[in-house]
């Protein structure tokens, strides 16, 4: 059992409250999985359209104490590109770099193998950690974050270990994040198939395989809905997936709809959660259209 939540704002006036609302939603799902949690928050962070060779924001995290400024200097030297450090929270930082993504990630691995990169992108920042959602959200001050879209996950591990790296969201491509409630059964097979295409997973987690599969299809040109169709076709198991890109917010359930999902839509937002009580505190929820997505239906909202 795990709990997933997501909020896609249509009304820009709610953006200053995104972190507050997401925190309250995630905390309501604590009973579905208290061992670790994570969120991905999307915000319009560049006032002007980024130039070609645009900067990406890398969310970094370490279980050990790290001198982030020193690490930034080393990575800037390795990649040959200037780098900006933005504070994120304890044991974490956001590095903003115009370097190519592969060379940046390789430089991090060489300079500080103990540092993980939970996610990266133009708009997305990812935080994940071991512990209960309330503690994690408080530690990073997520309640004060603004943004236009966010997803969260609180985990009760079934398929792999309880570590920061094994917690959700999984964000293997720029601005792509996935949270999963359920369990895949054939993920080792799919992981092997991806490995033969040169796509490697960081962990032995089943949900990461689905995230990598979607990212691989999208890298080939598929849109998000097609990426999700690939999961239906190639992966066996139980799943409610909430997957976001820089512009899209999508929900899909397996053929039996074994794992719960509730969606609430108003003129101001689309909200999704494993259980309704995560949505019960949202503004205007009493007037929302509340429904359950049916098996194999793909629901996508775009901004």
């Amino acid at each position: 059992m795990c709990g997933i939540v997501g909020l896609h704002l249509k009304n820009p006036g709610l953006q200053p409250r995104l972190g507050e609302l997401l925190t309250q939603m995630l905390e309501a799902m604590t009973t579905r999985g208290p061992d670790s949690a994570g969120i991905a928050v999307y915000a319009d962070r560049d006032p002007a359209p980024a130039p070609p060779g645009q900067e990406l924001r890398y969310s970094l995290r370490s279980d050990e104490t790290i001198d982030w400024d020193l690490l930034a200097k080393r990575i800037a030297a390795e990649t040959g590109r200037d780098l900006r450090v933005e504070p994120l929270g304890p044991d974490s930082a956001v590095f903003v770099s115009p370097a190519a993504q592969t060379s940046f990630l390789a430089a991090v691995r060489r300079a500080a193998p103990q540092v993980t990169v939970p996610g990266f992108g133009r708009s997305m920042v990812v935080v994940k950690d071991v512990g209960a959602p309330a503690a994690i959200c408080a530690r990073y001050g997520i309640g004060g974050w603004a943004g236009y879209q966010g997803i969260g996950h609180t985990r009760m591990a079934t398929e792999s270990a309880v570590t920061t790296a094994h917690s959700h969201p999984f964000a293997p491509a720029a601005d792509l994040a996935l949270v999963h409630n359920g369990s895949f059964s054939n993920y080792a097979t799919v992981r092997g198939r991806l490995a033969r295409q040169g796509i490697r997973c960081d962990t032995d987690n089943d949900s990461e395989v689905a995230a990598r599969l979607i990212a691989a299809r999208m890298a080939e040109g598929a849109d998000l809905a097609d990426g999700l169709r690939t999961v239906l076709k190639e992966m066996d198991g139980f799943f409610t997936l909430l997957v976001t890109t820089r512009t899209q917010f999508a929900v899909i359930r397996d053929s039996f709809a074994c794992k719960p999902a509730v969606i609430a839509e108003t003129p101001d937002y689309v909200a999704m959660a494993s259980e309704y009580h995560a949505l019960a505190g949202l503004p205007g929820i009493t007037g929302a259209r509340v429904f359950e997505p049916m098996p194999e239906e793909i629901h996508v909202w775009s901004r």
Partner: protein, 229 residues
């Protein structure tokens, strides 16, 4: 006697259920601000009337053996699960597994129920004014379901002796479920069920429903012949 007022904003689920269990027969209670709370009015054996004033979570009224519970809103999964006697009425929609495994009593969903409504029904009565989702009535052993709207895929898969009446369309029947001829006795039964359902069942025409029951082809396991699963 004035109803007892219990608010989810102030009380834990255990406190609410303990207060409900302590009510004398004939008493009534209102549960306020449920906001999707799970397990409300569970395991009660007194003859009381409970009104839940809003949208509620999972297992509402489950294991009940006497009370009449009314939810003025929608419910999450497994409303009235394992009901023994009494009733649970949902004025809105219900999520998955409505009335799962119930042995007796009546569960009324005035709106739609989701998938697996009446799964493993063991003798209770489930009345749904609207539609039900896929695999409803799965392995239902005894009891009766009336569906006022349409049924999703695999209706009545692996049915035993429960009977399902559908007023609308059936997307598909599950393994070993079959449509049977409607008898006068069925029409009388459906008329009584629709009256019991009350609000939300006025559109049901008892003489025009479809009767779904077991073809009994799966009663005896034969691994070598006519496998249907």
């Amino acid at each position: 006697m004035e109803p007892v007022i219990l608010s989810c904003a102030e009380l834990s689920t255990r406190e609410i259920n303990a207060a409900l269990a302590a009510l004398p027969d004939g008493a009534s209670a209102r549960v306020l601000e449920p906001r999707g709370r799970h397990n409300l009015a569970v395991g009660l054996s007194n003859r009381v009337r409970i009104d839940i004033e809003g949208n509620a979570g999972y297992f509402i009224g489950g294991l009940g053996d006497g009370p009449d519970v009314v939810v003025h809103g929608f419910t999450g999964w497994s409303v009235g699960e394992n009901l023994q006697a009494g009733s649970v009425r949902v004025e809105g929609n219900a999520s998955e597994c409505a009335g799962a495994s119930s042995r007796g009593g009546t569960i009324v969903i005035e709106g739609d129920a989701s998938s697996r409504a009446g799964i493993s029904l063991k003798g209770g009565t489930i009345l749904v004014g609207g539609n039900v989702g896929h695999m409803s009535g799965f392995m239902a052993q005894a009891g009766v379901m009336l569906i006022g709207g349409d049924a999703g895929d695999a209706l009545g898969d692996s049915l035993y002796e429960a009977v399902i009446y559908v007023a609308g369309k059936i997307a598909s029947l599950g393994s070993d479920a079959r449509i049977e001829e409607l008898t006068q006795s069925d029409v009388r039964a459906v008329k009584a069920l629709a009256e019991l359902g009350g609000d939300g069942f006025g559109h049901v025409q008892p003489e025009n429903v479809t009767r779904v029951a077991s073809a009994r082809g799966l009663y005896n396991f034969d691994a070598l012949k006519d496998q249907k699963y």
